[in-house]
Amino acid sequence: MRKKREKKEAALALSRRDFLKGAGVTVSGGLLVGSSAAAAEAAVSENVVGPGPVPITLRINGENHRLSLEPRITLLDALRDHLNITGSKKVCDRATCGACTMLMDKKPVYACTVLAIEAEGHDITTIEGLAKDGQLSPVMEAFWKNDAQQCGFCTPGFVMACTAFLMKNSDPTLEEIEKGLGGNLCRCGTYAGIRRAALEAAKAMKGAQIHG
């Protein structure tokens, strides 16, 4: 779906450029048939949005949310301040600590450093999306069993990073876990418990479908 849309839009952009150059009037795909050069010019400037609020649709844990946000609003702030989805934590807010980790198309990212407007069209998974039908995900379960948290503030980010890591590495060594979770910090120092939890979750998940 997305690919198709991109192709269409790429063709549109190309046509606009041709128009601006004053090049031939044959337009690919017939998308701009009937437009004038002036209309094409307007179309280009319409591609610039903001600085005021812009309609943005975010797909979070399988559900679409329509929002009106300034381009400067990060994905993290959009969820926490505008949708009241507050499981992902805001700590350093500088792409360093990992507390805001979400999955974007199943890959872990720092949501504090992704603009909400950039996240449009991507599948976002947060800690709220891991438990299914009241059942903790294997990673959540393993964190709980191994006492892999103290104050708990880094935990949602660690669980998301760990979930993504185990989706790519189903049979990790302790060293691989250490390196794989290098983008998250725990100031209480619960790393030993987190590594144990990751190992146990890997075992629990073997052959099983991973949530998220």
Binding site: E6, E9, A10, L12, A13, L14, R16, R17, V44, N47, V48, V49, G50, P51, G52, V54, E70, P71, R72, T74, D93, R94, A95, T96, G98, T101, M104, K107, P108, V109, Y110, C112, T113, V114, L115, I117, E118, A161, A164, F165, E178, K179, G180, L181, G182, G183, L185
Partner: protein, 328 residues
């Protein structure tokens, strides 16, 4: 963060048209891992962001022995790490990308952005500018300079070049393509980096309305590569010193060595002295050590960073040993 306009063009020429001719008015948004934080800190205050991630011609990795490697600027570090040809032919580049120890950053950060990230110098990050000027004088020589330059630091620039990929790319003779309103130009990665000599000068040879579109890395059969980073902690942080090496071993001796240090000077620091110490020699621990010594022989540490001389020496030694130990 100050409010800004936003655009996400689908092709290069539209992107260039959306950019300003003046620094500070518009910024290119790639992975955003450096830029967004700099904007929150008020270090960068663009009125317009141009997201270039939707431009398909900036993506893709291609390799052939004849043409070498072409990396689209928007290839993520994760995309680079997962590519079989890069793994097979450029292990030193893989080691450098692994140096970014956060999977989140590897998923977001791009190859082009990695080269063009701004220095980590804490004076710069706190608003004193690249030259850390206060009352017409640099704050670095008498200040907190433990992470600053030990080479190329006669002033006024004392920050260190933060790129992890640049040293190995330079050692391999890579080039970058820059696209601007007057067409494209291709320059060596080494020439992309400049030491600023006056306030307001950028540390890269790039114009505000130019876009780094691709990185090209030549391929030479039998080249062995390695990157070695010395770091304070294993988790996410920039290294204290780094070295990248490309060389061949022919008839039992080292040929065409190229040693480039990172994190020690305002630019990635090529060391012809280390190259000479290696060229024509049989690989051994002593020869690798001699290259390390030669690389730092002219170091001029500041008041608090003398320890970096030793780290840089060892980084070179270990990078050389790692490279020669590869088959090839």
């Amino acid at each position: 963060m100050q409010a800004f306009e936003y655009a996400s063009p689908r092709n290069l020429s539209e992107a260039v048209r959306l950019l300003s001719v003046r620094w500070g008015e518009s910024s290119i948004l790639a992975g955003g891992t450096d830029l967004i934080s700099a904007m929150k800190d008020g270090i960068s205050t663009p009125k317009r962001l141009v997201n270039i991630k939707q431009i398909s011609e900036l993506g893709g990795i291609e390799f052939s022995p004849r043409n070498g490697l072409r990396l689209g600027a928007m290839v993520t570090l994760r995309g680079l790490l997962d590519h079989a040809d890069v793994q097979q032919h450029y292990p030193g580049l893989i080691q450098a990308a692994e140096g970014v120890r956060s999977e989140q950053l590897r998923n977001m950060g791009t190859a082009g952005g990695e080269l063009l990230q701004r220095p980590r110098c804490w004076y710069y990050r706190n608003g004193y500018g690249l030259l850390a000027m206060h009352d017409g004088k640099s704050l670095v020589p008498d200040g907190q300079n433990e992470y600053h330059a030990i080479l190329g630091n006669s002033g006024p620039a004392y920050f260190v070049s933060p790129s992890g990929l640049a040293p190995i790319l330079i050692a391999l003779g890579a080039t970058v393509t820059l696209h601007g309103p007057r067409g494209t130009r291709r320059i060596e990665v080494e020439k992309l980096f400049v030491t600023p000599t006056r306030v307001g000068q950028r540390e890269h040879d790039i114009q505000p309305n130019e876009i780094l579109t691709e990185i090209r890395v030549p391929y030479r059969a039998g080249v062995r590569t390695a990157t070695y980073e010395v770091r304070q902690k294993e988790a996410l942080d920039w290294p204290l010193a780094a070295a990248a090496v490309a060389l061949r071993v022919e008839g039992g001796v080292i040929r065409d060595p190229r040693v480039v240090l990172g994190q020690v000077a305002p630019v990635p620091w090529a060391s012809p002295e280390a190259d000479r110490a290696l060229s024509g020699k049989r690989p051994s621990e002593d020869v690798a050590d001699a290259a390390g010594r030669a690389a730092v022989a002219k170091a001029t540490p500041l008041s608090k960073n003398g320890y970096k001389v030793q780290l840089a020496r060892i980084a070179v030694k270990r990078a050389v040993l790692s490279a020669v130990q590869q088959g090839g």
